[in-house]
Symmetry: C2
Subunit: 539 residues, 2 copies
Amino acid sequence: MSEILLKNCRVYTMDESVPYAEQILLKNGKIAQLGTRDDNLASNNSVQEMDLGGQTVLPGLNDSHLHLLSYGMALSTVDLSDVSSFRELIAKVQNYIDNNNIPKHEWVIGQGFDEENLQEKDFPTREILDQISQCHPVIVKRKCTHVSGVNSYALDLAGITAEDNEKIEGGKVYLDQDGKPNGVLAENAQNLLSHILPSYSEKDLEKYIKLAGEAFIDKGLTSVQSDDLKAIPGGEDMIMNAYLSLAEKGELPVKVNLQLQLSSEEEITTFIQKYSPYFQSSVTDYLNFGPLKVLLDGSLGGKTAALRQPYLGDQENFGIVTYTPESLDSLLDCAARHHLQIACHGIGDYAIELFLDSIDKIQAKFGGDYRHRIIHCQLTDLDLINRIARQNISVDAQPDFVGSDYGLLEERLGFARSINTYAWKTMLDKGINVSGSSDCPVEPFDPRLGIKAAVTRQDANNNPCGGWHPWEKVSVFEALKMYTVNSAYATFEEQVKGKLAPGYCADMVVLEEDPYSTPPQELDSLSVNKVFINGKIVK
Amino acid sequence: MSEILLKNCRVYTMDESVPYAEQILLKNGKIAQLGTRDDNLASNNSVQEMDLGGQTVLPGLNDSHLHLLSYGMALSTVDLSDVSSFRELIAKVQNYIDNNNIPKHEWVIGQGFDEENLQEKDFPTREILDQISQCHPVIVKRKCTHVSGVNSYALDLAGITAEDNEKIEGGKVYLDQDGKPNGVLAENAQNLLSHILPSYSEKDLEKYIKLAGEAFIDKGLTSVQSDDLKAIPGGEDMIMNAYLSLAEKGELPVKVNLQLQLSSEEEITTFIQKYSPYFQSSVTDYLNFGPLKVLLDGSLGGKTAALRQPYLGDQENFGIVTYTPESLDSLLDCAARHHLQIACHGIGDYAIELFLDSIDKIQAKFGGDYRHRIIHCQLTDLDLINRIARQNISVDAQPDFVGSDYGLLEERLGFARSINTYAWKTMLDKGINVSGSSDCPVEPFDPRLGIKAAVTRQDANNNPCGGWHPWEKVSVFEALKMYTVNSAYATFEEQVKGKLAPGYCADMVVLEEDPYSTPPQELDSLSVNKVFINGKIVK
């Protein structure tokens, strides 16, 4: 490959030994050399020079936890993130059915509603969803995907009854006054639908993956860490095949680290036997594997996050944990035997504590630098944060959650307890590797939104004034670090990506504006003018 | 003392375990209890309640390095910080003489000029200063106080000749084309004036200390760490007596940690013998002693900061060090034998390296948690920063220097080397205790200016756009921490002040505005509405 010299630019390298440069020489997809205005980097005449006209260059952004395939699939579902009443929800899904002429008996899937934004402040039950259609199975998923509502058609199709509550661990079939399922399913109760949800072909999945990846690049993401194996119940192999096939053909638009959501020792063992050859020597640097993703509790919104003290005004409700301490120990022990890094979805303080206890045990037994991770890590206290720091556990944070959730936190937890949520600056100051993520499709994947939210701690309307719990605001540098260096550290790739330094991948974003000169509230409007992956211009 | 309950306020405690509160109960000069909107803290009827109407409460601010007495004395000298040519400088000093009817033969002292801001870009020589007066001794000090210009009257009075250059260590008498002193004196050469400078009485000093202290409180400082012993050559005892006398009378307006600038082993030993009784049991908590202040090099502005590579365009000039490696080792060894914390003025990378080498030796020999300090610590690289972190050395930073110096740095050091200056965010991220200071009268003491400069990295006119080397910007929280928690850590007082937590001194600032809702460029305009020291309202 020929050499490219990027000139006349402001390069924030994120490399602490040379934090700033003004030209970059690329060679064979890597950064070859950096220089300032006074240097002459062009080593020969074949160098292709590119004048960037004073634009800003950053390392390519890296989302440390999202659901690429779910997002791709969501492109063919109804987006409910903007509905504000049951009436609107019903109308939007009905329009979708009409506009797309969805045949009777075919699934209709909506996602992204947030009952906090609904006038009714409640989950949609079958009574509501039956108003959409009684001749299509209908499911609408909460934005966190931990709670769904289904209509009577779907309930009947799946054969769900009140008695299922006795069979499910870590989940709940909600009942109406007569003791019958009301259509709301939380956590593992959603699996009762697995056998009847629509099926996809591998080709479908390839299409969705490419669509999503291309959208990601457009906003400056060059790497994403994606939790996809459970996007289709029972579809692990098809999903793996779709990814492997795209990687082999060189058609993955964006670099992907696949997070492996596997819920039992048996699943882990089977998966490892089948796919471990790909773990060591990836097909390309576009596809890597790990960590094991463990889903330990739900969400604060859905009142399913596992708390040490009950939800405010709901003294019986401590949330839901998907594993007992013993079954979690046993699962993590199995993961450790297979040398897997573990990333645990943990939102409530009880879930986080449970995970730390379990990690203590496997670290004592197996040791090693595993950089285990807590995804979300929303409700903490100083003791938990100190334990996380001491165990060198990384935290995958979703800055955008602040804007969506801050109104809800006092309501769910009371004011005093809400002070200890989303404590990312405190975590960073303790030396914890906090990386940036969107959890897309839970929040929009656009990393500029996350960067803005981390810096401002405000929602899209710049509320609350001054930012929510503003001592936890991070600087622009720290927000960029969360989406570059820290995301790379979480996947053991800190020697490869996340910085612009000699030998690193030439994964880069070119911005029209300088984020440091941009008012914090306008960080979501930075113009992504060019994107490079491995030295190639992909936007 | 009665109890006071502050209500209806936004309290940023700077205490990581309880970062935010909405009411504070004060008892006997200490914080007794904190609470949120839901708590009822008033323990009995005698509690005096104070409704703060939603204002912000912070721990009292603490400047980790300034010259309180020099500032007080400067109130009776000519302020030259705003002159932009020799003509203006001459006119301003002449006006001062005329307006104050300064009798012939009496000293005229000006301070604060910066040759970078003068049209002539040069130090004022005797030729210039003779135009002010030939019948008054005149001295004008550079803002850094490391370089002065004197007129012919003063030169002759002191009997300074070219031959003095052979006698002075760590200083320089500048010469004209004829080989005669041109009136410019750098570093220790300034001591040649000691015996002829005007004398002060202890009462004068008490007056200056009170004047300065009151001015400090007005801007929200409740503690300052002041390097004053050399404010008057040979005046150490008088200065100590003035401070001790004010402390005994309870007339110190502000809490003072006196930094002890002592330049030889003999000075240290004599001082310790005389004053160590006060070290253990202070008269009040308004006056504490330590660290030993060592002056190791000069300033980048004056080209006297000691560099590892020469000044740009001045290949012979590496700056000036005041000690040889051996004499520094010996001085620090003496300090360690007396259990003194050491704060070293070190600006250039050579001076910083020399200090670290020497600290390595005394730490290996004596051990202990001394939290030695580097004041200024301007030109570093990653290796030096890593060493500073490893040795748990604190850095006393002057955020306001960025605005004053950034134009000069490229000129003195070249662009590439300038990237590694004022790297406070990098230092904080390495876990280094970076505290905030003004070095007043070098820069104005107003801590709001320092907080603004640390956050924006801009000068008073908000230049350069986006901030100078903006990856080193700190967050508002970090800037506040520099002036509270971190300053307290530097004097081993982190259990006493710098936070608002039960048992801590009730040293507090009440601000009209919330600094987190204030645009960064307006942080210097926060309104300091009330100041408490030990629970008493002092403003």
